[in-house]
Each structure stands twice: as C-alpha cells, then as structure tokens.
Symmetry: C2
Subunit: 216 residues, 2 copies
DNA sequence: GTCTATACACAGATAGAC
DNA sequence: GTCTATCTGTGTATAGAC
C-alpha cells in the first residue's frame, strides 16, 4: 500500500476527477464545441495526447458530466421523498434542494442543461431519459399536492412542474456566488413566488377571519 | 426599376435575410461553434465562399441576430408602455408580449440567450447592454406596481424581475409549436403562476366577504 | 452575386517511446 | 501515466474568374 492510494480519505483529486471538473468549467465558459482538448489538457498541465489515457474521446467527458449531475439530483430527491411528508412541503424541499445543488455545481448543471445537443443520439436519449425521471419525481409530488387540495387544480400538473423548472433552471445561468444574494435566499424568494405569486394580498388581512393567514 | 426590387411588397426574402434565418435555425440546433459556414452555405444552396459577399465573418451573423432580436423586444415593450396603464396590467402585457414574440421566433431568441458567450468582448458588451435596457423596462414597471400597492413589497424588485425572466426564458428552450399547448395558453399559465402562485386558495372563498375574489 | 480553387490554422485522435 | 511526433479531417476565410 502506497500513499498514492489513500484508503480512508481522498487527499488529492485524481487526474480523472480534475479532468471532469476542468471540463465542466470550460464547457460552461466557452461551450463544448468551442473547448479544444488541447486547451483542456493545458488546464491540467498535461499534453493533449495524455487525456486519452483517461477518456475514450472528448464526448465521454460531456456524457459523464451529464450523468453524474443527474445522479446527484436523483439522490437528493430520494432523500426528500424517502420520508413521509405533506406533499406541498415535499415539493418545497424538492425545489430548494434542486436549486441548492445546481447553484453549488453551476458548471456541471449549466453544461448538462445547455450542451445536451452535442451528445450522440444514443447518449443524448439516455441522458434525457434520466433527466425525465427526475422531473417525474417532481410531477408526482405536484399531483399528490393537488389531490390533497394544496395546489390549484385547474392547471395541468405537467405545466405546474414545467413552471417550477423554468424558475429554477434559468437561475443557474445568471446566479453568481459573488452577488448580493446567497443560494438560500434565492431559494426562499423563488419558492415564495412559485407558491404564492407576486401579487400583494395585504388588504385581505383586515377582512379574513384568521387575519389573512391563508392568503399570506 | 426592375422587378427584383419590389417597392410595396417583399415577395421573396433576400439572400441576406435567408442567411440570417438559416443561421438562427442552425445555431439553435447545433450551437454557434458547431455550425460550420460550409453547412450554412449548403443550407442556402450556395458555396461557402459566397457567404462572404453578404457578411464580413461568421461572427457577424450571431451579432446581427442578437441585435435585431433585442430590438424587436424593445419595440414591443415600447408599444405596451406608450399607453398609460395600470402598472400591474402593463407588467402582465410586457410578460405575455415578450413570451409571444420569443416563442414565435424561438430560433433567434434561443440563440441570443445561449450563444452570447461566443461574441467578441466588445460586441458581447453591446448586446448585453441592449438586453439590460429591456430588462430595465420591466423592472421599472415592477417598481411602479409595488408603489401602487399591487405587488408584494418585501421582495426586492430586482428579484421579482429576474423571477419573471426565469419563468419566460426557459420556456423558449422546451416549448414546441407541435405540443398540446399554444403560445397564448402558455402565456396565461405562466402569468397566472407569476402573479398568483400555485397554492390553492379555494377554501377562502367561503370566508372572505367578496367571495374570495381577491384571492382567486 | 456566385463560382472554383486554395491557403492556413487547428481540431480530435493515434503510435509508440519512456 | 505522460511524453513527442504525427496523421487526417475540417474549420474560416481569401483570390480571382465569370
């Protein structure tokens, strides 16, 4: 056993891991097609040819990136849904959990969302299938919350789900950790807009028996 | 005067116009970097070299595409804002107008939104500046609506505005005119979610004096 | 306004030494 | 696991005839 194979702790990322992280960063900045394998290799301090010891081809990087990213989301969703909860509470946790993870790993998530089209047909279908599984978990929760009388039923759950991903996904492209808003605050704002809308209902406070609690 | 220069009607698009439309379509499908000038020329039925009679370089296409798209939005916004209106009504019209236009011209809008990074620094700054002007029109309207007591004031207008563009922009990437939802229906759904949220408030109908009208 | 021919840079990928 | 050297295809763009 040598110290290049730590057993209990990964003290340093392997070249394979650094490669994937570097690819995510460059793919996000310049796009997949505009990122050359030479530039990617240079970023790791190795030669272009050395990359091919770790990957079969450039496309492998994009494919792996997409898959691990979607797996992470699936795992996060499972953690929320493994516990018996009120459906609308579960929906809120799915939303904030997804956003939290996506904003922590913006490079990978943005790449997954915008560079899918560069994958081969087969791999793209596989990735889209896995993404749709995650979306399905959310949609099932929306449906449960509608059945529980918690969400408006006159809108097709499919579109309530799409509206949520609209709200969350586009944030990944403009959010900056250096901005005046942190991940949690953005999650609270978007959840609040999603569930309650932006209309001011303050005037109802004086009219409803409970002091407007249901409308707030 | 020859019939190749119609005065009152453009019977056929010029090669320059076909070029811009073809570029938008291909940039959207494959991305700017992955679209070769040869493929673009082939799409118009001409040789690669012939393109350079119409443009100075490939990047010109992306730049022009972005600018005309943002100009169209600016014009649409101006039409809404030139009329004196209730601020929240104006906001609704800005939202549905923007979405309508973006979904009619998905190729150009999607390209503008996702391929900005491929522009040179100077041109990118110019495009971003023009985009920000459009966003500013919306944010001003949000602020006016807050001041009029129509929108929740505890959320920074900046984020109310971003939430709206989240909701609208991501739709451009998944909307299909062949789907079971048309542009207007999507506009109504997203506006409804944006203004009123997805929470069911039906139970208040039996409690509020006005029959729940304010909460519906 | 479109063509043929071509220049030249750079892409992804491989062979084989160390 | 990384290197040097290299193959081959394709990219954007230009020159100059028609």
């Amino acid at each position: 056993m040598t110290d290049s194979e730590p057993v209990l702790a990964e003290l340093e990322p392997t070249t394979g891991e650094r490669l994937l992280a570097g690819a995510a960063e460059m793919f996000r900045e310049k796009g997949y097609a505009a990122t050359s394998t030479r530039a990617l290799a240079a970023r790791l301090g190795i030669q272009n040819a050395s990359l091919y010891h770790h990957i079969g081809g450039k496309e492998d990087l994009l494919y792996r990136l997409c898959m691990v990213t979607l797996d992470d989301v699936a795992e996060r969703f499972a953690q929320v849904l493994d516990v018996q909860r009120d459906p609308s509470e579960a929906l809120g946790l799915l939303a904030t959990g997804y956003l939290d993870q996506a904003l922590r790993d913006r490079d990978r998530h943005a790449t997954m969302l915008s560079e899918l089209r560069s994958l081969s047909t087969d791999r793209r279908a596989e990735v889209v299938g896995r993404r749709d599984e995650n979306v399905a978990r959310v949609q099932e929760t929306v449906i449960a919350a509608q059945a529980a009388g918690q969400l408006r039923e006159e809108i097709d759950p499919k579109y309530l789900t799409l509206a949520l991903f609209n709200l969350l996904n586009w944030s990944i492209f403009w959010f900056s950790p250096d901005g005046d808003l942190d991940r949690d605050e953005l999650g609270r704002i978007l959840s609040s807009v999603y569930f309650d809308g932006i209309r001011d209902r303050a005037q109802d406070e004086t009219n409803t028996p409970e002091g407007g609690a249901r409308c707030a």
